[in-house]
Symmetry: C2
Subunit: 287 residues, 2 copies
C-alpha cells in the first residue's frame, strides 16, 4: 500500500489550516494567500519532503511544516511570475491568476506574504516541538539559499536575461538547475533534516533532486514541442533542449538524467520505493 | 563619547560585505541588491538593533547580522513599494528607483532576493557562532511575524485598501503600528535576543518601538502638512493625523507618544542613553 494519497491529504489539510488568524482589517490577505495555495497542483515538492523524511526513518508529521514552507515558496514564485511585468499570465491552473483576481498591488503583497510566512513555518516547527532549533536553523539556511539568488531567484533572473538572447547549453542547465531543481532539492533536504538524517543521505538526495529537475525540464520541452508540432525551432525565441538537440536526442538526454536520479536513490534501498514511483510518474506524464 | 557613528560604520561595512559570491550569469543580481542597499538612509533600524544589544550588555558584533537582516527587509519593502503597481516612484533618496534603473521584472526579483537573503543572514548568525540556534530561531519568528501579514505587509495592505476611502483613527493607528512600528519593534527585539536579554526587557523594547513608530508617523504628517501649507485637509485624499486633528493637536499627540516611548526605556537606565538620543533626533528632525 502506498502512502502517497495519505501524505497528499496531510499536506492539503496542513496548507488549509496553517495560516494565522488576522485582524478584521487584514483578514482579506489570508483569503488571497488561501486562493493561491488552494490552486491545486500536484504538491510534488511537499510530497517529496515527507517521502524523504519517511525514507530516512523519520516521523512525517515532524516534516509537515517544512513541507508547507516549500509549497508556500513555490506558490509565491507562481504569483510573482504571473504578474504583468513578468509572464503576464491571466490564468493559473484554470483559475484567474492572483493579480487578475485581486489587482496587481495586492498580488505583489500576497507573494511577499507567502515568502515571509514560509520562514515563519520553519520557526514554528521548532516552537511546536517537531524539530530542534538546530534543525530549524538548518532548514532556514537551506530554504533561503535554494530559493534565493543562488537558487530559484537566480534561475528566474537568468530566464529574464535570455528572453531575447539565445542561450547555450551550459546557461540552460544553470538556469534549470536554479529555477526548478533548487526548490526540489530544498524539499528533499528539508525532509531529511526533519528526520535527523546524516549529511551523506542529504547529499544523495541533492543529486537525486538535481537530476530529476533537469530531466523534468527536458521532458517539459519535449512535451511542448510535440504538442505544438515543433521539432527543432526555438520556442518563442527561446532556446530549449529540443531546439538544441531535436526531439529524439532530447528524449535520450532526459533518460540519462532520469537514470542518474534513480541511482542516487539506491542508498535508501526499498525505503525509497515511493520516491521512485513519484519520479517515474512525474517523468512519464502526458501533460 | 557616543558609539552611534561607530555602530553606523559597522552597519555600512556589514551591508557592503554581506552578500555571497554569485556565478557569472547571476552576478548582476548582487549589483541590484547593493544598489538599493547602498541607497543611504539613516539606518535607524539596524542602529536600534545594535543599541538595544549594547543596552542589555551584549556584544554588538553578535547582533550585526540580525541588524543587517532588518535593513534588508526594510530595503526590499522600499523596492517593492516604488514599483508602478504600488507608489510608482521614479526616485528614492535622490537616485533612480530600482525598477527605473533595472526594469520592473528585475526590481521585483531584487526585492524578493533581499527578503529571502534576510532570513539567510539570521541563519548565518547561528552558523558563524554569534548566537545560539535557539536565538536564531527566535529571530526568524520575530522577523517573519513582524514583517509579514501580522506586521509590515499587513500595514501596506491597509494602506492600499484605504487609498480611496477615508480611514478613521483606529484604522490609522493599526496601519502605522503594522507598517512602520512593527519593523522597528523587530529591530529592537532582535538586538535584545542577540544579547540574551530576558522577556521583560524585550517587552519594554516593544512598547518603546510601537510608541516611537506612531510618534514618528504623526511627526511625518505634521512635517508634510507644514511643508505643503496644508493644515486640516486630507493628503492626496488620504486621512492623516493632521487631517483628523489639525496641526496643533497632532503635535500634542506626537508628544504623548514620544513621552510613552521614553518611559518604556526607563527599565534600561543610563545604558539606554544613546537610544534616547536617537529617538529624540528622529522625532525632532526637520525633514
Amino acid at each position: 500500500m502506498s502512502n502517497i494519497a495519505l501524505y497528499v491529504e496531510k499536506i492539503e489539510n496542513a496548507l488549509k489550516n496553517t495560516l494565522p488568524e488576522l485582524s478584521e482589517e487584514t483578514a482579506a490577505i489570508g483569503d488571497m494567500l488561501r486562493y493561491s495555495l488552494e490552486g491545486g497542483g500536484k504538491r510534488i515538492r511537499p510530497l517529496l519532503c515527507l517521502e524523504f523524511c519517511a525514507a530516512a526513518g523519520g516521523n512525517v508529521d515532524n516534516a509537515l511544516l517544512f513541507a508547507c514552507a516549500v509549497e508556500f515558496v513555490h506558490t509565491y514564485s507562481l504569483v510573482h511570475d504571473d504578474l504583468p511585468c513578468m509572464d503576464n499570465d491571466d490564468y493559473r491552473r484554470g483559475k484567474l491568476s492572483s493579480h487578475k483576481m485581486f489587482g496587481e498591488a495586492n498580488a505583489l503583497l500576497a507573494g511577499d506574504a507567502l515568502l515571509t510566512e514560509a520562514f515563519n513555518l520553519l520557526s514554528r516547527a521548532a516552537f511546536e516541538g517537531h524539530v530542534s532549533s538546530e534543525q530549524a536553523v538548518r532548514a532556514v539556511r537551506e530554504l533561503s539559499l535554494l530559493s534565493g539568488m543562488k537558487g530559484m531567484i537566480g534561475g528566474q533572473y537568468i530566464d529574464l536575461k535570455y528572453e531575447n538572447t539565445p542561450a547555450n547549453l551550459p546557461v540552460l542547465i544553470e538556469m534549470d538547475t536554479l529555477k526548478t531543481a533548487a526548490l526540489i532539492e530544498c524539499a528533499c533536504a528539508l525532509g531529511l533534516i526533519a528526520a535527523g538524517a546524516d549529511d551523506m543521505e542529504i547529499s544523495y538526495a541533492r543529486d537525486f533532486a538535481r537530476e530529476l529537475g533537469i530531466a523534468f525540464q527536458i521532458e517539459d520541452d519535449v512535451l511542448e514541442a510535440s504538442e505544438s508540432g515543433e521539432s527543432s525551432d526555438v520556442k518563442n525565441g527561446k532556446v530549449t533542449y529540443v531546439s538544441l538537440f531535436g526531439v529524439e536526442k532530447a528524449k535520450e538526454l532526459a533518460a540519462i538524467h532520469t537514470k542518474n536520479a534513480l541511482s542516487a536513490l539506491e542508498r535508501f534501498g526499498p525505503a525509497a520505493d515511493e520516491i521512485r514511483m513519484i519520479a517515474e510518474n512525474l517523468l512519464n506524464r502526458k501533460n
